[in-house]
């Protein structure tokens, strides 16, 4: 029976990555010295399943590597070994290596064998250290070791229960694995094999006597039979031949050897880890872009699907009710028809909501990486930082989860690097030695708010301004408000870090952070107070498929302005409007001069009702940190709209982010506010191109 194992690979990888996450978070929560055995156990179990799975699928390098980790964890679990910070750190680094190996394997790529070897050596070093300690601490163990050395092989009696093959275990595979350990002699016992007429093809009737010769530990054999322990009778006896002194002696001397061999390795390892992590980070992002084109799967809580199924049931009932009503309809039943239609509407809306729910995942998927990040970085920078996370269960759209990760990492890194001061500075400033970074996610008014808050030194306004002037980003005599100064950090190529550190300060990033957030239809705000701390507030739409829109009318056409970008709508009076150089219209709104974008001009609407500014309304909008007033005929109403792509069948149109279908079935276009503001900068261009294109 041959099964194409490849079809299970994806499941294996998914589960393994989940296992890695469990291991990582478990390791991070582990207190050196006093570890909770249950916690070690869960880490151990995760490692164990990865090992088992990779063995089954033939990813031997992963299985081998995990085996070493597992051995270490096993000893910790049994209390044979103290949980030290060093061991935890090595295990964490191993989790990284393992993740890389899994990623590489899932993409059929090559893993850097040197790196794996180095990390394995690191693990072995920890293990070797422990063996020495254990020998002193536990004489039993020490006795067992030489005993194991005396024997030259094992006699294994393996009698599978008849149902073993149904549990998915194949005795042949076990035998083959044993073969890998040493010289194997196999004897089959066919006694219990029934006559062909009574033969059940799915039962196993055979049993085996196996003689395994070579330097094999009992653990190794146990590992192989680990999965089938409960499904077979298993006897493992050491074979102790009369005398074989010479090999034993050589074995014992070879024992400490690994230590010596490894000693030279750690130094390069440390260095490698640093550089490689960056390389792997880049690889990771490259991979992401590659995989975003392919199919991606989503794990959905079964309860959400149950809700959906119920809802469909209701919908079917309503449908049949309406169907019956329609068969012999007379006007007296109008009330029932209304009722039915109302019910239909309710069910449809509920169903839409629950379908949207399927795409929603808790933000802990993104947050889960931060404890590790903070742990690693704070150690590296010599700062004491506590990370507080709240609202991890807040649900957001899957696309948001995928795209918000990198910007958040960037912001958290910035807070750690630039925000939180060194412990001595903190004490000098009268603050607790340990800095706090808070990550908070919650819903507010149809938006998801994510806050990154630190109690560090805050943004240095003067430095920001000096730097901006030095770079020529603002004129030297510019008078900027606080908010405008903070906005400067989002400018491309802007960095105030005195030294470019490994962590941040390259000045690439904040502009990308904002762009990514804007792409998701959100925005970011900064609050900061010198000496007290700063906070970044990201506001994102609940879902990307539905948008809260304000419908506006321009002439006979209807457009949709995303509600998130609207600040306010006002009626302008003539005394508020000024002309810039006779052409650019601006209006004054609370000490700020904002340009006016006449929507009917930019969009080429010919039948606009409001030609004069006092006839229509100005919708004050913000996009990419720039504000302007959109001049429209009238506001129609607010509604949730389902976003449809214009590109799917046509192409991208500047100034538009998509289209939607209104209640009457007609199409309305959704305005792309940042795009419009950019376009308004060169309205004349937009005008000139229209005739050229139609020509």
């Amino acid at each position: 029976m041959t099964i194409d194992m490849a079809q299970f690979h994806q499941v294996f990888f998914d589960e393994s990555f989940e296992g890695l996450d469990i291991m990582e978070s478990g390791l991070l929560e582990m207190d050196p010295g006093s570890a909770d055995p249950e916690q070690i156990n869960s880490i151990f179990r995760a490692a164990h399943s990865i090992k088992g799975g990779s063995g089954t699928f033939g990813f031997t390098n992963i299985a081998d590597f995990t085996h070493v980790m597992e051995t270490l964890l096993d000893e910790m679990r049994d209390g044979r070994r103290q949980v030290t910070t060093e061991a935890v750190n090595v295990l964490l680094a191993s989790v990284d290596v393992l993740r890389e190996m899994l990623t590489a394997t899932s993409e059929d790529a090559e893993v850097d064998p040197e790196r794996v070897k180095a990390q394995k050596a690191e693990l072995d070093r920890i293990l070797a250290g422990e063996t020495a300690a254990a020998e002193v601490a536990e004489p039993d163990n020490a006795e067992e070791a030489p005993a194991a050395n005396k024997q030259t092989g094992w006699h294994i009696t393996f009698r599978p229960h008849s149902h073993m093959m149904r549990t998915g275990n194949d005795p042949l595979r076990l035998v083959r694995e044993l073969q890998g350990l040493g010289e194997l002699t196999v004897e089959v016992d066919v006694e219990s094999l029934p006559p062909l007429s009574e033969y059940e093809p799915e039962d196993s009737y055979l049993s085996w006597d196996l003689h395994l010769m070579g330097d094999v530990s009992k653990e190794q054999i146990d590992d192989i039979f680990d999965w089938v322990e409960d499904d077979c009778d298993l006897l493992i006896d050491p074979i102790c031949p009369a005398q074989k002194a010479p090999p034993v002696a050589s074995e014992i001397t070879s024992k400490p050897e690994p230590k010596a061999e490894i000693k030279s390795v750690p130094a390069p390892t440390e260095r490698r880890v640093g550089t490689d992590r960056r390389a792997s980070g880049q690889k990771g992002s490259a991979k992401k872009t590659a995989s975003s084109g392919g199919t991606s799967s989503i794990r959905v809580d079964i309860s959400k699907i149950d809700v959906l199924i119920n809802m469909v049931g209701e919908l079917v009932i309503t449908q049949s009710m309406l169907g019956m009503l329609g068969d012999e309809f007379d006007i007296s039943q109008i009330e029932r028809l209304r009722e039915g239609l109302a019910q239909l509407e309710r069910h449809t809306r509920e169903m839409q909501e629950s379908v949207m729910q399927i795409r929603m995942l808790p933000i802990s998927f993104t947050f889960s990486r931060f404890p590790r990040l903070v742990h690693d970085l704070s150690t590296k920078m010599g700062k004491q930082i506590e990370l507080k996370m709240t609202g991890e269960t807040t649900e957001v759209d899957k696309t948001v989860i995928e795209k918000i990760g990198d910007p958040l990492v960037h912001l958290v890194r910035n807070s750690l690097d630039h925000g939180i001061e060194m412990p001595e500075d903190r004490v000098a400033a009268g603050k607790p030695e340990t800095g706090t970074v808070e990550l908070n996610a919650y819903h507010r008014g149809g938006n998801i708010i994510i806050e990154i808050k630190d109690d560090g030194k805050g943004l240095d306004k003067d430095r920001l301004l000096d730097k901006a002037i030095e770079r020529g980003l603002v004129p030297p005599d510019a008078m900027l408000g606080d908010q405008q100064i903070y906005e400067l950090i989002f400018t491309a190529g802007f960095s105030t870090a005195e030294e470019v550190s490994d962590v941040s300060g390259r000045g690439v990033g904040m502009d990308v952070v904002r762009r990514n957030i804007n792409e998701l239809g959100g925005n970011i705000e900064i609050h900061s107070e010198a000496g007290v701390g700063s906070s970044f507030i990201i506001r994102l739409p609940l879902t990307l498929a539905i948008l809260d829109g304000q419908t506006v009318s321009v002439g006979s056409e209807t457009y949709i302005v995303p509600l998130v970008s609207i600040i306010e709508s006002i009626q302008v009076k003539e005394n508020m409007v000024n002309m810039l150089a006779g052409k650019g219209e601006t209006f004054k709104l609370r000490e700020e001069y904002l340009p006016i974008v006449r929507l009917h001009e930019v969009l080429g609407v010919k039948d606009a009702k409001a030609k004069e500014l006092n006839e229509g309304l100005l919708v004050v909008v913000e996009g990419e940190g720039r504000r302007c007033g959109l001049f429209v005929d009238d506001l129609l109403g607010q509604q949730q709209v389902v976003i449809k792509s214009l590109e799917a069948n046509y192409r991208k149109i500047s100034g538009l982010s998509g289209a939607t279908i209104l209640g009457d079935g007609s199409v309305a276009l959704i305005l792309d506010i940042p795009g419009l503001i950019r376009m308004a900068g060169n309205v004349s261009v937009a005008f000139n191109q229209a005739p050229r294109k139609s020509a």
Partner: protein
Amino acid sequence: MAEPQVAELKNLQNEGLADEQNAQYLTFELADEDYGVDILRVQEIRGWDVVTRVPNTPSYVKGVLNLRGAIVPIFDLRERFDLSSQEYTKDTVVIVLRVNGETGRRIMGIIVDAVSDVLNANSSGLANAPDFGSRVATEFIAGLVSAGDKMVMLLDVDKLLGQDQESEQELTAAK
């Protein structure tokens, strides 16, 4: 398992053969001229309905239409070919076509005066469009075929609507 695949393959071959030798074309009228498109590319024919104008597009792009949830652009073929434009009447129809562009399959609609007939045309009966130099754009014309005493211009849907895509993208890139 394998059988449906084989059947599919045969179908494909048959289609290929049909394309080569005996293809069917949907013919329509446009300013007293007769045009045809490969009938396998036609998704549906529907009456003229009000569309939503899309700003900053060429005038022959009449707008977009909601076609069962998909946003479909509608092109006026008269304006596309610089023929005199005409009021839309109850005979005016929109032919919804599947277009193979570089970025995959798209759905687009063309506005024509009236749909006339389905024409069987043998590939041997196809004539190339004469070359008018740059005076008359003939690159969208896959061939000419006679139907009775009329000449029918067979349009290459991908070139007509797919290329339009490209040139527009170039335009947007250029500005």
